[in-house]
Symmetry: C3
C-alpha cells in the first residue's frame, strides 16, 4: 500500500479488517512502530470523527500527529497547473506539497467537493496533486468523491457484527453466507457530497461478500463505476425486505450535479420500515440530522450501531497508518 | 470524584488543595499516571489560560491532550431532546458525546451562556447533556453558570498566600483564623457571564474558612443558592474595610438577565480604596480590562497576585485530572 | 543567546549554522535535551512553514509544542502602555505574557506589521512587549520588520550549497571565496511586509561572507540600517550578472510606507534573466505567487532550491531552540 485514497489501494480487504480488529483488541501492541514518525493532517474542510480518530490512532502507534487547518491557520492553495496566481490563492500545491513531504512521513488530507462542477470534483484534482507532488504516502480524510477511512470502518463494523452473531467463518474472516446490505438515500436540508455513498458502494463491491442493494428516489443515481455490481431500485420498501444491514445516508444529485430534487420525508427510516428487514443493524457515518435523515426512535433504539461504527474509526485509521509505516 | 463541574463534585477541598500544591512543588511526580490516557478538550468558546494550563497539566501527568475547537474545526451541535434538526445545528450531542467517550478517557468542555435566556443558561443543558451521554468523566473548562477550575485555583492561591504569611495551620491545611475575603463587582464595557462570581461564591462558601463579603451596585444580585452564607452589601467601602483578599470581577445582571445597569467607574479598585483594607492581596481571574475593571496602579502594584493566581491554574487542573484518572 | 528575534541575538553565525547542519545529519541526536520542556507558539497571524517546522524541531528535541491561535482561539491583545481598555482589546500583554512565562520554557510569536504606520511597525512594539513581560526566551516566528528563522535558514542553505559545490572551507565553515548574492525585488498583487528582505539583508551583512547586491525599482528602498554594506542598484540585469545566488522576494514601499508603486512584470525572474548569472541557485522564502513573483520555468527548473530551503527551516528552528534550552 503506497497511499490510501480509494479501495483500489488495498490489496487484501479481509487482512486489513483483521489488523484493525486486532488493534481494537490491543490498542498499544504497535506503540513503538511509529516512534520518530510524524503524520501531518491537513484540513481544507471541517472534521470531527475523522480528525480525532486519526489523532488517537497515531498516538497509539507512538507517532506524532500535527494538525493544520489550511484555511484558518494558513491560506488558500492553488491546484491548477500553470496558474497565474494573481487572484486569491496564495500558494501552489506544487510548492506546498513537497515541503510537507520533508516535514512528515505520512500526509493526511481532507478536502470537500465544490458540488458546482462535477467534472472538476470527480477529477479529484486536489488529492491527486498532493499524491503527485508530496513524495510521501497520502491518506484521504475524505476527498471530493470518496471517504475510504469511513468505508473501511463500515466493512470492519459489518464484519464485527457478523462475528458477534456467529455468522462469520473465522478461518477466512468472511461471512458464512452473504448478508443483505442496503444503502438507502435519506432526506436532508442541504445538498451533500456523494462521497460516503460512492465509497461505501465501492468498498462493498470490492469486498464482494454481500447481497448489495442501493435504493434512492429517481434522479439520485450515483456514478456507475462505483455502484456497478449492486442492485439499484427506487422502491425503498422492496429494498429493505430481509436486509441484515441498512446504511442510511443522504446525497445530492449526480447527473444534474449537486442538486436537491425530491426530498420526500417518507424516505426517513422509521421503526415501521425497519420491521421489513431481518432485524437489520442500522448504520450511518455521522453527523446525522436527527428526525430529518434518521428518526430518534431508530437512533436511540436497539438496532442502531452508529456509535460502535464511529468508535471503529480509530481502528481503521490505525490499521491504515501501520500499513503505511511498515511499507517504508 | 466522577466529574468536575461544580464544587459539589469535590468531597474534600483542603485535600485537593494539598494535592495541587504538591504538584506545584514537584510537577512531574505523577508523570506515569496518565500514560496511554487521553483527554479531549472541546471548545465551544474561546479560552487562553484554561486551555493552556490544562494542556500543561495533562502533559505533566503523561497524558495526551487533544484540542478540538467545535465551531471553527467542526460544526454546530444540537442540545435539545427530540429536536427536528432542519436548522443550523449539524450534530446532536446524543450522537457526538458517546463517541468522545470512545476516543477519550476524560472530556473537558468549555461552553458559555447565551446571556439571553436565564432559565436555559442556568439549566446547564450543554454540560449536563455531555455528562448524560459521554459515559466518561466530564471536566468543566467554564460552563454557563460556573467556572470550577478557576474557583479551585482561587482557593489554592488564597491557601498558598496564607501559608506564605504564616497564617495557615499546617496540620489541618486550614487558616488559623478566618481571613476576610471580599468579592467586589467592577465596571466593564460589555455584559459578562456570572460564572466566575457564582463559582467563587460557591467555593468560598463550601470551603467555609472565610469571613466572606460580596459587594456590588444595586441590581447586580447573584443567584442566591451560590451566594448563601455570604454577607452582601452595596457599600463597597464598607465591604473593603480590613479585607485580607479582594477578588475583583465584573458580571452582568441576574434578575433582569444579562444586562448592564449602572456601570459607575467609581467601582474600579484603586490604591485609595485598597488603603481601606488590611493590605489585601488583589485577585482577578483574567482577562482583565485595564483601567476599566482594575487600575494599572493596582495591577502593577505589590498587592496584585493575579499572575501567581493564573500560574496556579496548572496545579488545579493537574490535581483534578489526577483524581479523575485514579478513579478509573 | 537570550532571545531570537534578530541577528543581533546570535554571537556566532557559522557555529549556529554548523549546529543546524548537524541536526540535518542526525535529527534526534538531542532528543533528551528538551525533556519536560515546553514551547508555546502564539500566532497573531497565519503561518504554515514556520509553524510546522518549529513543531517538528521541538519534537526532535523531545519538547512539547503547544500552539495557540490568538485571534481565533483567544481574543485581541492590547500592547499600548496605560491603555484604557474600553475598546476591542480584551487582554493586555502585561497580563498575558507573564502567564505564558509560567506555562512555557520558551515562547515563540508570530506577529505581522499593520503596514499602515511605519513608526509603530518599526518600533516592534508587540514582540518587544513580550520580551519585556514574559520573563522567558522569546523566539520570533516573524515579526513586524524581521523574519530571523527564515534568514538563518537562508544562510544555512547557502552554506550547504557551497559545501555541495566544494566551495566551502571546511575548517572555518566559511566560503573559500565570497559568493555573489543578489536580493531582487519581484512583482506581487498586494502590499507585503519588508520583513524577509530586511532580515535577509541584515543576516547576509552580519555573516560578512558575500558580495551582496540588492536590486529593486525606484521607490522600493529598504530601511538603511538593514541594508548598510550592500550594493544597491535599480538595474536588475546589472545586479544579476555573475550572481551565485538569487533571492527573489516582493516587498512594499518603505519610505511612503506600505504602498505598491510600479509593479512591472518585467521584474519577474525568467530563464532569460537567469542566463545572466553564474548558473545561480534561486531562492524564495515561500509562499510564492507563481507566474507573478516567479515563473513556473524557474520554480520547476534545475536552479530552484526553494524546496530544500523550506525543508531547512526545521534545522534552523532546532538549532535555535536547542541553544535556548542549553542557556537555561
Amino acid at each position: 500500500m503506497n497511499h490510501f485514497v480509494s479501495v483500489a489501494d488495498v490489496p487484501d480487504i479481509p487482512a486489513l479488517v483483521s489488523r484493525a480488529l486486532a488493534y481494537k483488541n490491543d490498542p498499544y501492541q504497535d506503540v513503538t512502530l511509529g516512534e520518530r514518525r510524524r503524520i501531518g493532517m491537513l484540513f481544507l474542510n471541517p472534521s470531527m470523527r475523522t480528525r480525532l480518530s486519526t489523532q488517537v490512532a497515531a498516538q497509539q502507534l507512538g507517532m506524532e500527529a500535527v494538525v493544520f487547518n489550511v484555511g484558518s491557520e494558513g491560506w488558500a492553495l492553488e491546484f491548477e497547473e500553470e496558474a497565474i496566481m494573481s487572484g486569491n490563492t496564495v500558494e501552489h500545491v506544487k510548492d506546498a506539497a513537497p515541503i510537507m513531504g520533508k516535514y512528515f512521513d505520512i500526509l493526511c488530507i481532507r478536502t470537500f467537493p465544490s458540488l458546482k462542477n462535477r467534472e472538476d470534483d470527480y477529477s479529484e484534482l486536489y488529492i491527486n496533486q498532493f499524491i503527485k507532488y508530496a513524495g510521501i504516502p497520502i491518506v484521504s480524510l475524505e476527498s471530493a468523491t470518496l471517504h475510504p477511512l469511513q468505508s473501511f470502518t463500515d466493512i470492519i463494523t459489518i464484519t464485527e457484527q457478523l462475528a458477534l452473531q456467529g455468522k462469520l467463518d473465522t478461518a477466512t474472516g468472511k461471512p458464512a453466507r452473504k448478508p443483505k446490505i442496503v444503502l438507502t438515500w435519506a432526506p436532508h436540508v442541504k445538498p451533500l457530497p456523494q462521497c460516503v455513498a460512492n465509497s461505501f458502494a465501492q468498498w462493498v463491491n470490492a469486498w464482494g461478500e454481500a447481497d448489495f442493494v442501493i435504493t434512492h428516489p429517481e434522479d439520485y443515481e450515483l456514478e456507475p463505476s462505483f455502484t456497478k455490481g449492486a442492485t439499484i431500485t427506487h422502491d425503498q420498501d422492496e429494498a429493505l425486505k430481509d436486509a441484515d444491514f441498512v446504511y442510511v445516508k443522504n446525497w445530492s444529485t449526480f447527473n444534474d450535479y449537486g442538486k436537491i430534487y425530491v426530498n420526500d420525508p417518507e424516505w426517513m427510516l422509521t421503526n415501521e420500515k425497519l420491521a421489513l428487514t431481518n432485524n437489520a443493524k442500522v448504520m450511518h457515518c455521522l453527523p446525522v440530522r436527527r428526525n430529518v435523515e434518521l428518526s430518534d426512535e431508530i437512533l436511540d433504539g436497539p438496532n442502531s450501531i452508529v456509535t460502535t461504527q464511529a468508535g471503529n474509526r480509530v481502528w481503521a485509521a490505525q490499521a491504515v497508518l501501520s500499513e503505511l509505516i511498515r511499507r517504508k
